[in-house]
Amino acid sequence: MKKILFMLWLSLLSMPFMGIKGGAYLFLGICASYGLYIFLANTFDRIKLPAVPFNAKIATTAAIISALILPFLMKDYYTDIAILAGIYIILALGVNIVIGFSGLLHLGFAAFYGIGAYSNALLTTSLGLDFWSALVLTLPLTSLAGFLLAFPSLRLRGDYLAIVTLGFGEIIRLVLNNWDSVTRGPNGISNIPSPVLLGFEIGRLTHYYYLVFGFVLIAAFVVKRVQRSRTGRAWLAIREDETAAESMGINTRKYKYMALTFGAFWAGLAGALFASKMHFVSPESFTFMESVFVVCMIILGGLGSVPGVILGSLILVLLPELLRDFQLYRMLALGVGLVLMMIFRPDGLIKKS
């Protein structure tokens, strides 16, 4: 009874926005989905799922092989989305170093993504460099940006850090938007050339897919290695308990700098790939929502877990595309999803070991 009253309350609240009819439909909708939830919960409670034997090596190999043959089976449209997913995986792996490993809730990572994209765009269009030479300059540049912006942020803790990094992200976006003489403002930069590899232009989607896939493999491999090293352990210790970490002899300030610099490095790579894939960049692609979207990916998969980050990115990029009819409700669901995740599964889909 209390639950029904609560549903009634929710639909009453929605009436100014949805009208009386809309509110009534909402009430019926909530009641129906609650009933369905109860039914499913009861059914699944009775069916005991057998434990699936899970072998990390086999799973990884299977994933790599299927990723290699996928472009032959997919329509171009899906290859396109897979490329985007790959770019997001690289970005999310970078953010994961900062948020997942080191526990610093950074909400301005779109800035480094944007710096990487713009740097590559400007170097290739204005200076006429090729993709690779531009990349060689872009990566140190974004890392440097990560290092420099770390200085003011790292004196703060927890939620203050979150807000200040959000502020930095927005300032960078406003600069991109208003510095017309260099960034061409809201119009963005177009005609960014495709990468050329060994005299071979990577213009076709399939080629680009393999390029991005190669970078995803490198990123996942490197991040995984670092996670299981002295540096990775130091980051985890800072996340777990900063004071205790410092007392164990870890120079927490230095390792936070390292985390942000290294995280920004991957964001820069993702940005550069994004720019050359789209042949176009504009400030709209690097908003606060973009930062939040990436945070969602790593939370969904499980903070700090490399396979989790990959899974989370794939789900969040692919799901909305597969359910295109529900495109409008994508962000609505994302918001509800975040709240539900925090309440029911704060550790993510893949629990950290």
């Binding site: 803790r157 939620d159 975040l338 925090m342």
Partner: protein
């Protein structure tokens, strides 16, 4: 010119202060940056437009403008408070003992949800506040000020004074202060913490609703995306004054309004939105406890 900017700054600053109070009240009690508070303000603005629309449709506005506006205020505040109350119960209460970043992420989720909920139900285009208000311009010493601006400044100041009295004099206000000081102690003294938290959200949301409604009247139109930037600015105002401090939020709001208005007038209006962020970052780096905040000892 200068005086003109001051008046514009005070108008916007009063609005910031009202929203900032919501941040500060919640932070004082839960130590949570209620990221969705900007969205509550946006909902308040929409509710204002929706209710004045209803009252106009039934002919009340034509009969008595004053009554219609009065009821619009009341209804917007009530419904908006109900939204704040519900958000707390659904998205924050289950996370009260979770690690500190979890409620913040949940709040970001609520913010995304509310923004898109309003966009889907009310459309992505600007909503216009009906032209029912008479505009009278007051002029003195080359400075112009509309009656609406005067109204906004006065209402903001009255509400702040009212809140101050409520917090200092009433029993609930005292219980709120006790809870902010020490939750465990407060509950041992028989204070119902859940109720106090709900009251805090209701008051904060009510103030945000008034702010939203006044902004809708002032600019004449609203959009589903106004909550985010206003929320950040109001949060800056709260931090500027010292988060958790009620007079701090009031002063912070007014100061931020002035900085923005003078900055846009004398420096560059393109970066108008960036001033808030720059102020926020500078304050957090130099004096994280804000203008009126207490200083803490020890090393971080």
């Amino acid at each position: 010119m200068f005086l003109q900017q001051i008046i514009n700054g005070l108008t916007v600053g009063g609005v910031y202060a009202l929203i900032a109070l919501g941040y500060t009240l919640v932070y004082g009690i839960l130590e949570l940056i209620n990221f969705a508070h900007g969205e509550i303000y946006m909902i308040g603005a929409y509710l204002g437009i929706i209710f004045i629309g209803i009252f106009t449709a039934v002919g009340l506005t034509q009969y008595s403008l004053f009554l219609s506006l009065f009821l619009t205020f009341i209804m917007s505040v009530l419904v908006c408070s109900a939204y704040g109350f519900t958000v707390e119960k659904l998205a924050y209460k289950p996370l009260r003992n979770a690690p500190r970043l979890n409620p913040l992420i949940s709040a970001i989720g609520v913010s995304i949800f509310l923004q898109n909920y309003v966009m889907l139900t009310q459309g992505a285009t600007d909503k216009v506040f009906p032209h029912v208000l008479p505009v009278t311009i007051i002029e003195f010493y080359n400075v112009t000020m509309t009656t609406l601006q005067l109204f906004i400044i006065i209402v903001s100041l009255l509400l702040m004074a009212g809140l101050h009295l409520f917090i200092m004099k009433t029993k609930t206000g005292k219980a709120m202060r006790a809870t902010a000081q020490d939750k465990v102690m407060a509950s041992l003294l028989g204070i119902n913490i859940d109720r106090i938290i709900s009251v805090t959200f209701v008051i904060g949301s009510g103030l945000a609703a008034v702010a939203g409604l006044m902004v809708a009247m002032y600019y004449g139109l609203v959009n589903y995306s106004i909550g985010y930037i206003a929320g950040i600015k109001a949060f800056t105002a709260a931090v500027l004054g010292g988060i958790g401090s009620i007079p701090g939020a009031m002063i912070g709001g007014l100061v931020l309004g002035l900085i923005e208005s003078l900055g846009a007038g004398y420096l560059s209006s393109e970066y108008k939105d960036a001033y808030a962020f720059i102020v926020l970052i500078v304050i957090l780096l130099i004096k994280p406890t804000g203008l009126l905040g207490k200083t803490e000892g020890g090393r971080s």
